[in-house]
Amino acid sequence: MARSIERDEVQRLMGQGAQIVDVLPAREYAEDHLPGAVNLPLRKIEAEALRVLDPSRPVVVYCADPG
């Protein structure tokens, strides 16, 4: 279960080398995304996560907003 975090924690984790994952569709990711974020749309995340992500580093996922 993922732990909810706020922006300042995201920035701290980024500074520590966390992997930032944008789960929005590719077109939205292309328009803008957090610096250094990779795109793993929700429909692909289960299939691609193990291939794309490093299991030894923290992972932060995000989308547009909680709404």
Binding site: A2, S4, R7, L34, P35, V61, Y62, D65
Partner: protein, 139 residues
């Protein structure tokens, strides 16, 4: 694993940098004037006008104790009855815009509606600053 629940909208509202094709266009965070004077509802209009003028402004944003935007005093309002209180003179509930809105978008809005200025706020209504016509390239 961590979930940044408030997501990229929260990130952009804070004025933090993003990457991507739209990241190159200027946004309100790049032009907003954070030094706009502020005042509270119970202040005397004349005192506010004098303070704004001393700071080189002909506008003032009315905010709550928590810095939430309540209204706007543009040049016309500041010229009103100097003994009025701010809450009687102000334009309540102005349209506000987020820091990540493209400058071009607000330029169109301000042009169409003949606006002198527009407050920029966070998603919970707290003042970031004021954008004037000249800040978005309008005469």
């Amino acid at each position: 694993m961590y979930d940044y629940r408030t997501g990229i909208l929260d990130w952009k509202t804070a004025g933090l940098p993003v990457e991507g094709t739209s990241a190159q266009q200027p946004r309100l965070v790049d032009v907003v004037r954070r030094d706009v004077p502020t005042c509270s509802l119970g202040e005397r209009l004349g005192d506010v006008r004098d303070r704004a003028a001393a700071a080189g402004w002909d506008a003032c944003v009315v905010v709550s104790d928590g810095h939430v935007v309540l209204g706007l005093l543009r040049a016309a309002e500041l010229r009103g009855d100097q003994d009025q209180l701010v809450d009687q003179a102000m334009r309540p509930g102005p349209s506000t815009y987020r820091p990540f809105v493209p400058v071009a978008e607000l330029r169109g809005i301000m042009s169409d509606r003949h606006l002198e200025s527009s407050p920029v706020t966070t998603s919970d209504g707290r003042l970031v600053g004021l954008v004037r016509r000249q800040d978005v390239g309008l005469p």
